[in-house]
Amino acid sequence: MIRIILPPHLRALAHVDGEVQLNLTGEITLRAVLDALEQNYPMLRGTIRDQVTQKRRPFIRFFASENDLSHSSPDEPLPEAVVRATEPLLVVGAIAGG
């Protein structure tokens, strides 16, 4: 099981409270998690990454286990703590604007 914490606007859009929990098999990469997230919550398509290029949206960051994964390859394995679900994957919106 993978735990994901979404920013508040995306939780509201997806009608979820608190964490999202997904069951995944195979190698746990950022791409695999986002694929599963969008499969389970299709309204999130395009809000975290571009639907065509799959690039992270500019004001979105990914953190886990006190590491910034935003600029890592989406095909790298996620930290072991995320894979074991002792830590969540954090999807964070940049703090900016008004």
Binding site: H9, M43, G46, T47, V52, R57
Partner: protein
């Protein structure tokens, strides 16, 4: 009993304002999609319970929302807007080539005869159509690719396709307007397009009478006369009597001919409304007096409408999609401001009162006349 529903898009959500035919007491619903920019909402003329909304955010991109119950509940639908083929480049502000990039949906125009068909005007400028209730979108790329696209460039607000007029008498005819490219017309349902800007003059471009490059802010028509178009250009209020083949200026005695919205009275095709705004960069009413100007002669002769509008210390703007009319016997006129007010007149502009005063900046106003 008849009534109206005013659909208001703001920087921080959508609001639905409803009233009976007297238009004196209002019920306010919202914010819907709190915290998101709602560039535009519009209802299907075929099914008044079917609403479409453009929801966007600098963080999370573009969403399209759809309601089947008049805005009580909403569901996210398709938000994949992909340009047809290799989109190429348009001009950047400095004249250098710049790749076409989708940014947001400025305007949604539901079909006049099919609730599942809806058009979307987007930034960077292109026209998309959905025929499945906004689940999937396909570009009508004949517009962007007809030949002048590489010469289009953005206005200050971006290179947006902001106006879509569907001809009520000829289903194959569509008019669109783009800032800063101009107006374009299709006579074959959106397959092929041509610029329709003859008569426009813009001193801020190298060739003031160029085929494209004009910063058209808004165009409007009356349903009984779709060959007569009215335009608020960056500067100049213009009129065409031949479906955009040629334009002539009708700014007349306006205090300034800069502004954003323009609209037509529901029952009087020669009665039109604008909101003069001071420019270059001020973008607020001249002398701090918020005045709607009405012409009953299709332009040239204008009267200021001031009753109920602030006549001192008013420095708001009225954006291009933020004016609409209802079609009750006594035509109602509505507009929203960047100060968050939505003003209504139930007597064609003679008297005004705010429906709401303290919303976020209003981006768009549409009105449904409900039976």
């Amino acid at each position: 009993m008849s009534g109206v529903r005013v659909l208001v898009g703001t920087r921080k959500g959508a609001f639905l304002l409803t009233s009976d035919g007297k238009r004196e007491r209002w019920d306010v619903s919202g914010p819907h999609f709190a915290g998101w920019e709602i560039y535009h909402l519009k209802a299907s003329p075929v099914n008044p319970d079917r609403l479409y909304a453009s929801q966007s955010s600098g963080w999370f991109g573009q969403l399209i929302q759809r309601s089947n119950d008049g805005g009580q509940t909403w569901e996210p639908v398709g938000n994949k807007f992909v340009y047809d083929g290799v989109p190429g480049t348009h001009q950047w502000y400095d004249g250098t080539p710049h790749p076409w990039e989708f940014k947001r949906v400025w305007h949604l125009e539901p079909s006049r005869d099919d609730a599942e068909t809806v058009y979307a005007g987007v930034e960077d400028a292109a026209l998309f159509r959905s025929t499945d209730g906004a689940q999937t979108w396909h570009e009508l790329s004949g517009l962007r690719e007809h030949g002048t696209g590489p010469h289009w460039q953005p206005g200050a607000g971006g290179m947006c396709l902001h106006t879509i007029l569907l001809d009520p008498k000829d289903p194959a005819r569509i008019f669109v307007a783009i800032s800063a490219a101009g107006t374009f017309r299709s006579d074959d349902g959106g397959k092929t397009w041509k610029p329709t800007n003859r008569g426009l003059r813009s001193e801020f471009i190298p060739n003031p009478t160029a085929e494209v490059g004009h910063c058209v802010h808004r165009i409007a028509m009356h349903r009984s006369r779709p060959n007569v178009l009215f335009m608020q250009k960056h500067w100049d209020v213009m009129r065409s009597d031949d479906a955009g083949e040629s334009w002539r200026e009708v700014s007349g005695n306006l205090p300034t001919d800069f502004g954003f919205p323009i609209d037509v009275h529901a029952h009087e095709p020669e009665t039109i409304y604008v909101v003069p705004i001071k420019s270059d960069s001020e973008h607020y009413p001249p002398e701090g007096k918020l005045r709607v100007y009405r012409s009953k002669t299709g332009g040239n002769e204008w009267e200021a409408l001031t009753k109920g509008l602030p006549q001192e210390n008013c420095y708001v703007n009225v954006l291009r999609d933020a004016m609409a009319v209802d079609s009750l016997d006594s035509c109602g006129v509505y507009f929203g401001t960047t100060g968050g007010q939505v003003y209504a007149s139930a007597d064609a502009g003679d008297n005004w009162a705010p429906i709401v005063r303290d919303l976020s900046a209003v981006l768009s106003v549409e009105v449904q006349t409900l039976q």
